[in-house]
């Protein structure tokens, strides 16, 4: 599982970086989204992989960390997902506004 997820994260990140370096703003947005998937998964995987052990206590009382997945990276990633959506929205609107101003969707603000 680890090797699969690691390669998966690598592919997401690599595809994202390729798009990040492309000239069209839409490509950059898709690239940023892919990079944010990769980063979210990467941070999540810092808690190590566990199958079938969600960080939910079986009942009232003191929890045992050994029996469940690490909750901290999950909490970090949860807000990151929502903020990631907000950033995508902001970039999208920026690119639309930039296109209206410069007349092009090239990231450099002019065709060249």
């Amino acid at each position: 599982m680890e090797i699969v997820l690691a390669i998966g994260i690598g592919v997401f990140a690599g595809s994202g970086v390729w798009l990040l370096l492309r000239p069209r703003t839409y490509q950059v947005i898709i690239g940023l989204s892919l990079i944010s998937y990769a980063v979210n998964l990467f941070i999540f995987s810092m808690g190590r992989l566990k199958v079938g052990a969600p960080p939910i206590l079986p009942g009232p009382g003191v929890g045992d960390p050994a029996t469940m997945a690490d909750p901290t990276p999950q909490a970090l990633v949860l807000t990151a997902i929502v903020i990631g959506f907000a950033m995508t929205a902001l970039f999208l609107v920026l690119l639309l506004a930039a296109r209206g101003l410069t007349g092009t969707d090239h990231v450099n603000g002019r065709e060249d």
Partner: protein, 968 residues
């Protein structure tokens, strides 16, 4: 009030007045003037009140702790020297305020002028009264700043702007040097407190850092006091209103440098380094200033250069290092302040009453303003060093000190000759000032008919000239004790013998004075024809202009160098910048692996391999690569593929024990897709291939380079991820979270408890970010101007409308209205279902997967579905969403919940949890965290809906605007 508190009051008064004056109406000239005058007079009174304790030799102190661990306190200290300077600052300040009230025109924003002037007064007082070196530097820089504002007061003239900028650059740069010097002193002494520094003279002089300290401190003092070669800013500062010149160049600003050198004189002076750095600078300044003053055609220019020359004289005296010369320096500082302030004011009156300051136009004014002329003549005589006036006494002391032997070097031996020469020059320029302005034939082409100024405008000059006379005639009864107090503060309790008498018998100093008088008159008569020819600037050094060099340097540094660097290192294009960022990040990540060896395998046992998971990721990787491939020409396909990649990561979260993440990711995936779909409509049509056959080699190289970078990044991240995942996880804060989630936070869903309880403050910050982004998107779209070719209706819509128009029984819009009836109804009916689901997610969030974030996005999806089903108009006719209210309400609840814990005496965002038995619902957790989560929920709903609706509205706005265009 204790003396220390009075001192603080004296320091704060001008700043308070400044703030007050800034809020007065623009033309409240009298009110501002009256207030400024009252403050200056009150300050004078306070300082005089403290004379008693200062005269006993014990400084008045006040220490307020500020950063005690760094040894930095707010520390005030008033000894004899500071007292004398403070009196000058307040005293001359009061006279300048009175003068300025008449000088400033009613059209100028005079309250602003007084606001700056008071602030400057306060800053200057701060320099003088500070008992701490760092604090001195702080106020020192404030004087630079406020003098900038004062010099540039008439900012509509280029000369004022240039002069102000030059003064700020030069003195501000000097201030930075001074700061470093002061920090070095603090390092040597171990304290910045003036009391301790002044007692550590031997330690500082024997330190290996002594030379850097002296050089840095002197750079600060020389730039401020306009010493050669930094003197050039002072004449340009004459673009300021004359009251400012009278203040800055007599008692304050330039005297700050002198004050600093005097203040640190007991610590730094007396060595060869000091002598050979200070004396030549002072001497050159004295001679160059006096020489240049003779040839000025501008009245204020003449006074400016004479100021430079007198500052050089004082600096020279301080450089000599003998106690008696220090006394002379202090004495001359006072005298110069008094006569120079009155001369500037006289020059201002002449300018004010005649409309010009040009010596070539002015002449014979005595017959029009005899009273002012007499006053100016007395002050000028004091400047020239005529007996019975204050300037004579300190100049005699200077001459006597010049004759004394200090180091026995050639420079020291030649001093009497230079001193006499400078004396001759000063007599000459004083004569020129007087005869040029007041004598000779009546003026011919003056802009205004000259006459005497209002009495109160002249009063400051009368007062100052009276003091000149009093000091000059009965020095020991007037300035004597004050001078002795100040001198004791500098050279210690045992003063050397000096006598403040007019007649000391026939000494060398008297002989030099006589030579200077006769020589000065002779030189003036000799130069008369040359001066009358009206040539601007001094011969020989006319071409050598400090200002030119300064401006040239500024251009080179701030323009050419910056441009070169920008060309070499910068780019306005985003692509290369991003490439650099990525490559640098890559190198930074690779270098440790390179240096330490690359070991990917860890010791942690691997999780059991599942082929289904591998298949899942084969799909995910395929989606990502295909999205990367298609994003340029097939945006919609790329969007679908991106959704596929998001889905894969959502399933991965679910698979690997993160149900909350899986849920949130899935929901966010939906809104992201809707968002980007809305955006697609405003993007340009599919781009034609720029290179129909094959791209040029440069483009190919760039693409392959990018491909290589992307591949390396991907491989690198994969390796790092694998290396991390296969290493055992150390002890982390998670243990605490898991153990305390229920007993401390009252919930069994640890992730949710972390979000709303343990790390609630982070979450609050994040929802604030969400709000800000939502508002930014909203604001950007309100002023949205789409690209021209995107404005008209999209092709599909046009086709539909054409079809509708062609059919006789249809009106445009019917096709859209008829579209997908059954799904639309289903979607509309889904609203309560989705909303209930959102409530369900929210309620169970504290114990099971769900929570405010997920519930918020779910509810926003419910709204979006309505928009998609029935169109914007229908939804807004039936449902008022008001996303801004949701956001505000959410932030308010979250903040109030956090603040509520203050009520019970706990820190911000402490939560309280308990279970309650509710009817029907059953046992249900009620934690204050639930309220906080409610806030999050509301913010997420509001922000998400706001962004999506704002974007969706754009199509509506377009039709509306084009409709009005058609209507016209």
């Amino acid at each position: 009030m204790s003396n220390g508190q009075l001192l603080l009051l004296a320091l704060l008064l001008p700043f308070a007045g400044s703030a007050l004056a800034a809020f007065l109406p623009t033309h409240a000239r009298n009110a501002a003037g009256f207030m400024a005058g009252a403050i200056a007079v009150a300050g004078c009174g306070l300082i005089v009140l403290m004379y008693g304790s200062v005269a006993h030799g014990e400084p008045v102190r006040l220490v307020l702790e500020w950063l005690p661990m760094l040894g930095i306190n707010v520390s005030l200290r008033l000894d004899g020297l500071a007292w004398l300077f403070a009196l000058l600052i307040f005293g001359i300040g009061a006279l300048v305020v009175l003068y300025a009230r008449y000088y400033m025109s009613a059209e100028d924003p005079v309250p602003r002028f007084f606001s700056f002037l008071l602030a400057f007064m306060g800053a200057m007082l701060g320099v003088v009264l500070s008992g701490n070196l760092v604090q001195i530097v702080f106020f020192w820089e404030l004087t630079s700043l406020f003098s900038f504002l004062l010099i540039g007061y008439w900012h509509h003239t280029a000369a004022a702007r240039d002069g102000a900028r030059m003064a700020l650059t030069v003195t501000g740069a000097g201030g930075l040097c001074l700061l470093v010097g002061v920090l070095l002193i603090g390092r040597i002494v171990g304290s910045y407190e003036l009391d301790e520094v002044l007692n550590a003279g031997g330690l500082i002089r024997s330190s290996p850092l002594y030379v850097p300290v002296v050089v840095l401190v002197l750079l600060g003092a020389f730039t401020k006091s306009a010493q050669f070669p930094f003197h050039f800013w002072l004449p340009h500062a004459m673009a300021a209103p004359t009251p400012v010149s009278a203040y800055l160049h007599s008692a304050t600003m330039v005297k700050a440098g002198i004050f600093l050198m005097t203040r640190l004189w007991p610590v730094l002076a007396g060595t060869d380094t000091w002598f050979y750095l200070v004396v030549p600078a002072g001497l050159i300044t004295l001679l160059v200033g006096a020489y240049s003053a003779i040839f000025q055609q501008d009245l204020k220019g003449l006074l400016a250069y004479s100021t430079i020359s007198h500052l050089g004289l004082i600096t020279l005296l301080l450089g000599l290092g003998s106690p008696l010369s220090a006394v002379a320096a202090i004495f001359h500082t006072v005298n110069h302040a008094i006569f120079k302030a009155s001369l500037f004011m006289a020059a201002g009156i002449i300018d004010h009453e005649t409309g010009t300051r040009d010596l070539r136009k002015l002449s014979g004014l005595f017959r029009y303003m005899p009273f002012t002329a007499t006053l100016a003549m007395v002050a000028a005589a004091a400047m020239a060093g005529t007996p019975l006036l204050n300037g004579f006494l300190s100049k005699e002391m200077f001459f006597a000190e010049a004759v004394e032997n200090h180091t026995g070097s050639l420079l020291d031996d030649s001093l009497p000759y230079w001193a006499t020469l400078a004396g001759i020059f000063s007599v000459t320029y004083s004569l020129r000032f007087i005869t040029g302005v007041f004598f000779g034939p009546p003026p011919t082409d003056l802009p205004r008919m000259p006459h005497e100024p209002p009495h109160w405008m002249r009063f400051p000059i009368e007062f100052l000239v009276l003091i000149c006379l009093l000091i000059g005639i009965v020095p020991s009864y007037t300035v004597g004790p004050l001078l002795a107090n100040a001198a004791r503060a500098v050279i210690g309790p045992d003063l050397p013998y000096y006598s403040l008498a007019i007649w000391h018998g026939l000494t060398w100093a008297l002989v030099m004075s006589i030579i200077a008088m006769i020589g000065g008159v002779a030189l003036f008569l000799g130069l008369r024809t040359y001066l009358d020819s009206g040539v601007e600037g001094p011969p020989l050094v006319r071409e050598l202009k400090g200002q030119r060099i300064f401006e040239r340097m500024l251009v080179v540094i701030s323009w050419q160098l910056a441009r070169t660097l920008e060309r070499a290192l910068g780019s306005r294009r985003l692509q290369p910048q991003l490439r650099i960022v990525v490559v640098v990040a890559l190198l930074a990540a690779v270098s440790p692996l390179w240096l330490r060896g690359m070991v990917a395998d860890g010791t942690l046992p691997l999780t059991a391999f599942d082929p289904a998971f591998a298949l899942l990721w084969a799909v995910g990787a395929g989606c990502a690569i295909a999205a990367a491939w298609q994003a340029k020409f097939h945006r919609f396909a790329a969007l679908v593929l991106l959704g596929g990649a998001g889905l894969v990561s959502s399933i991965t979260f679910a698979w690997l024990s993160a149900p909350d993440l899986a849920l949130t990711q899935l929901l966010v995936e939906m809104v992201t897709t809707v968002l980007l779909l809305l955006g697609l409509r405003w993007l340009p049509k599919r781009i034609e291939e720029t290179y129909p056959t094959s791209p040029p080699p440069s483009v190919l190289v760039r693409r392959y380079a990018d491909l290589a970078i992307a591949t390396f990044v991907g491989i690198g991240i994969a390796i790092i991820s694998y290396a991390m995942m296969t290493r055992p996880l150390g002890e982390s804060v998670s243990r605490y979270f898991v153990e305390r989630a229920y007993i401390g936070g009252g919930g069994t869903n640890v992730v949710n408890v972390i979000l709303v309880d343990f790390r609630g403050f982070d979450t609050l910050g994040e929802v604030v970010v969400l709000c800000l982004v939502g508002l930014t998107v909203y604001a950007l779209l309100r002023r949205f101007r789409p690209a021209l070719e995107s404005i008209e209706a999209p092709e599909q819509q046009r086709l539909q409308d054409e079809y509708d128009e062609a059919a006789p029984d249809r009106t445009p819009g019917d096709t859209v209205a008829d579209y997908l009836w059954i799904p639309r109804l289903v979607m509309q009916w889904l609203f309560p279902v989705i909303a209930t689901f959102a409530v369900y997610l929210f309620m169970r969030g504290h114990d099971l997967p769900g929570g405010g974030f997920a519930a918020g996005i779910t509810l926003s999806i419910a709204f979006i579905v309505q928009y998609m089903a029935a169109g914007t108009r229908w939804v807004e006719d039936h449902l008022r969403v008001l996303p801004l209210r949701w956001m505000g309400f959410g932030l308010l609840i979250a903040g109030a919940t956090g603040a509520g814990s203050w009520w019970f005496g706990y820190p911000f965002l402490t939560t309280h949890a308990r279970y309650l038995d509710w009817p029907i619902v059953g046992k249900f957790p009620v934690a204050s965290a639930l309220m906080f989560d409610l806030g999050i929920f509301a913010v997420v709903v509001g922000a998400t809906v706001l962004m999506l609706v704002a974007l969706a509205h754009q199509s509506l706005r377009r039709t509306r605007s084009s409709r009005t265009a058609e209507g016209d």
